[in-house]
């Protein structure tokens, strides 16, 4: 699975020291590395110490590219969000896609309460090789998207919302019971997981 693909580090709960050490060890053996879930203060501290480290604050990811991922002959991956609050998770997916040689096509803030905005972009959705759909609260967007495209739909619930949003579980369960058949689901807030799922589904993954 790992061919041409960077090592991926889960940054949350690790100190700047620990992350720098891991990055240096991986780079030393000639491999690229992607770090997810690093808050801006830590991201900047790492960049100050590892000059080749490129930090993306919105996505909360950073990477050192030793050798770029191999080119892959596939269309873009649509990365779709219901609201603007879902964008950080979408960016985590987009950054991961880029790191593994896939091309994100961002389609943001097209939630189901304003259908017209979504319907304007159906053609774009249909040209994608796969669609990552990211939504919090009621998590309804994957069902609508799943009815509009025949390609893989990877649903990512987010922890956006309050009260009955249940920290993302309402969106998660919604997506698992989607009335559009063949929709698949990854863990709450896992933009990374969705990108890796797309990686498995598309040519050039091994």
């Amino acid at each position: 699975l790992r061919q041409g693909v960077p090592e991926v580090i889960f940054g949350q709960g690790k100190s700047v020291d620990q992350i720098v050490a891991i990055i240096e060890e991986i780079v030393r053996v000639g491999q690229s590395v992607l770090v997810t879930r690093i808050e801006p203060d830590k991201g900047e501290a790492i960049a100050a110490r590892v000059p080749s480290f490129q930090y993306a604050p919105l996505a909360r990811t950073g990477k050192v590219t030793v050798k770029p991922p191999p080119e892959r002959a596939v269309g873009p991956i649509a990365v779709v969000t219901a609201g603007t609050s879902d964008i950080p998770i979408a960016e985590e997916a987009a950054e991961t896609l880029l790191a593994i040689g896939l091309r994100p096509d961002r389609i943001y803030d097209v939630g189901v309460a304003g259908l017209h905005r979504l319907l304007l972009r159906v053609d774009e959705l249909r040209h994608a090789a796969a669609v990552i759909v990211i939504a919090g609260m009621e998590g309804a967007l994957p069902s609508v998207v799943g009815g509009l495209v025949a390609t893989p739909v990877i649903a990512v619930p987010t922890s956006i919302g309050y009260g009955a949003a249940l920290s993302g579980f309402t969106a998660l369960f919604s997506m698992l019971t989607s009335c559009a058949s063949g929709v698949v689901v990854v863990n709450i807030d896992s933009g990374f997981g969705a990108a890796m799922a797309a990686h498995r589904m598309l040519p050039g993954s091994s």
Copy 2:
């Protein structure tokens, strides 16, 4: 609240004997009566003993109309379902609406995975005085409807589905966190509750 409105009996867990006794007592004082949640075998047994009892098997409701509810100068109430499995709950709402002098407009099986079917009926939705939206599984339909109409949207989650549908709680929580603002929610499978909510919202309720 009760003026011109029948007494309503919760039939579940009550025997045929008990229901017949309650019906006769209410009819004796000159009032109409509606009974909800009676399974067909019980419904038929009651009808055999109370000739004026009209049983609606799909809705699992029955009624004796002593004096018809007063006419009400309001438009129809759209009763919308996502799937065909939601129809019994929709019929409970429709029968309750009829019993309190409101007029249901049934729009069934227009779930969000097949948007075209819903979009064909937008005009009908917009002519309703209020919309009751009934859906199980991911409960996405009220968000889409709420974005299409300006009138009251009363969402009814149903216990249809399995696994992550959580016996209706996924739909319930979805509806409570709907991204269409001003959507209100009643208890799982409560077609009756939705109709009574419409009753409170429309002229002639007192």
Copy 3:
């Protein structure tokens, strides 16, 4: 739905910079704007940068009124709380009502453990066009109010309480199973949602 009604921004999780930018964009196209869920420090920072921004600290809402909402020929909306801790949510409802041209009538701290205080205000409740009932902990107040008035009762559970209050879920489930028929419910702590629901129910919403 939006005619004469301000754009509404969900302030939580957004920075002062982001909110100021969104406000300026909406005002530039000549529309009013309401922002919900802004803590006092952020509210004051926004007011310092946008002079026309009016911040209501108790409600944690702020607004810029470009053109006032249209007059609406309806009675007041009663906004009722069980305790004093529920008042911030009530104020969010009241501020939203004002922003959409409806008139709140505040009836606070009339919880069911001291019935006399509630009973003193029954007439006031009965003169309202709709009643928003806000309660945490056991959430019993909407059932009692629902038995006293024939108009719409919109119940708002709050996250007030500890232990078995379950961050508002006990009040939420209580309200959904209210023994007063036709009570409708919105998400936990959503004073905004209750006001928007009233908006849909009353003349002049479109």
Copy 4:
């Protein structure tokens, strides 16, 4: 604790053979016995084999009284229900009270959506030595009763209701967070537990 008090057998999950054997063993040593949670068919089968066994079908309890419980110089125990569906649990409480020498005063179907019925019986409530309040669904009644009397209020949640009633957990959590202070709670559907709690609270328990 057991002085003058019958042995109490939990009948649920036990066969007629097992219950008859246990009854006979207890009676042989000269003690009275109360059996709870026996469905009518089992209750009648036991009565057919143990002639002194008195079965109360509504309460689903049965007893053999070898020596009557000692007289106790206390006032009646009010046993109050919100609805008619709560009556079987109330009867379990009442039968247990009788078996331990206490006197139940039944006040049924006085739920909070129809306050007038409850208010008509306030004097009766105030004359009780303790009040057992039994309610399902939103479980609001103990809060109202707790505000009306100064004596012990023992709340019993019931599993009556559907959907958000959560098989009695909504009523349970409501009662635990009651805004009337000093209300105590027993397990869902435990009329027996409430009666035994009253037993501990009143003179003559040891």
Copy 5:
């Protein structure tokens, strides 16, 4: 209920200013006042402004005694804890008992994994008019105490523990299903609620 009993204020979530204002209002009308759930920094700030305010840091309660509660001819109330971490909740109960004219008898750190410590104090338990039993984690102590005494046992679950302790819900559910009959339960961490329950159960409450 309130005769001779102070007004009780729930301090949590209220500012020093708010609490001082409420205290002064109550004292002005000649009544005593008890405030619960105030952290030490707030407690000291209040004491600095209201000289008659007596703050108990372990219990996190404070009071102003305008007229002492009436003498009550009852034995002590045993206040029992399983561990040392449960002591703050026990002190809240003890301070509330004192404020309403009841006498606490503290029996701390006698959990069931070291039975000998509990058994050494059985006589003391049996001399109490009622027993308040406070325990977190598995909440087993009320069952054992309930088997040792015939008087009221009021169980208070605490939020002590981690993982499967579920913030007090494991202890709560344990206590509700206690195999010692007649044990009653109050909300998690509610030392106050337990004391008020004892108040209702003992002579002189009205």
Copy 6:
């Protein structure tokens, strides 16, 4: 999505009459039909009335093939189970794959407590175009499989087990938090959903 693919009917909760009517309607317009979740008695009753209906009792599915699905130039889909109790769900997946022109390769009873059995079949797994992994109880198998293959891994939790298996939710949550990256998940017991997900992922889906 539907090109060359049969209509799929959710059989659960529908009567034989209803299913026969739906089948006949679909067949009349020249389309194939697959029905899922029909118990053996109903399956046989349908077959008795619709001679072209082929029922698979283990999978609890039945179909009428009007025109066979188009040939698809892809490798087999491995359908893997942890235990023998998971086989009915695997067969639902296999039957659905066949109905949409994909070829299942069944690898059953290779759960992680007996690693050797799984390791013997690694080559077979690596030759599959995608792997559907079906497991109940602790749901560990997809993590191990995900570490062994680079192709899509679609995890299906089953409701097999008791107690802490939580009717499939433990397996569901396990799979969502799999330490093998890019594993995707469908609803509990949804062999159908997994097959439809494979359909979206593989060439020839539209």
Copy 7:
């Protein structure tokens, strides 16, 4: 692990035909077999077809002993229950112990509400090589036993009880948070799991 130990079949959900076939296959290769979770009607049907099959109705287990398990030089395993309703699970443990060459010592109905019965048997507990403690409802017994013995304590929660007993989860969580250190826990109702755990802990397991 399996040396001298029978194959174990999970009987629940399998038909008599399936179980007979599996038994015959195992016996054919010369091994003993134990089947758990078979209800009496199925147990008797199997015995009628496999004469060497010994069925234990209380334990709901059956076995065919081809070669007896090897002798093991260890003391007895105490199998302790809190109530009489826990006995079937205890018998499942006892039968499994016998099948793997360990000797159960049954100590039943010694729950913590009647401490004296437990204290009478402390010596017996202290002579055991390990103690299996089985309890439903509040699951308090393992904490008390864990404080009395220094040997392994394996706690088995049972699904006995109603309401807040949560089908065994209250006992499960209680046991996991036991204040007696070093208590270990197996799945709800898993007498079999507890016996197998004892097997791993005692000499002669491999």
Copy 8:
């Protein structure tokens, strides 16, 4: 149980002053003491005041050894983790083992998504007297280890992960339903509990 074993203090929620006082009291009576769950800042503050206090920051434990634990003639205890994030809990187990005279053998970061790393260490696992297996997220490792060794397997779920990891409950439930028989489980994050369980299982515990 306590012979030669230190007193163990639960440090969480206790102040430096309180912990120092307890340590001094225990040391004064000539006993060793172990303190668990102390964060580094508190650990260092204690060490500054109690010179003999040895603090292990990774394990968050500290101890004063007055007399070393007795030698025990048993093999090492394997302490195995799935990931690197689980190491702090493993170190709590290792430090507790050392304090009670047992010898930990650390085998870290051998999770099931990279089977080869685990398989390389099977011999080491098989030489251990018992295996403590520590894993978060899907908690799959104990099932695999349980299939590889015949000795006791003590599973410790950790709160590592997000979303569906449910703060450790997913791992907990996974481990309780492990398909490897005889695996036992302790509370989430309880390295201490696992070590004490090993203590009970091995010679020399009393």
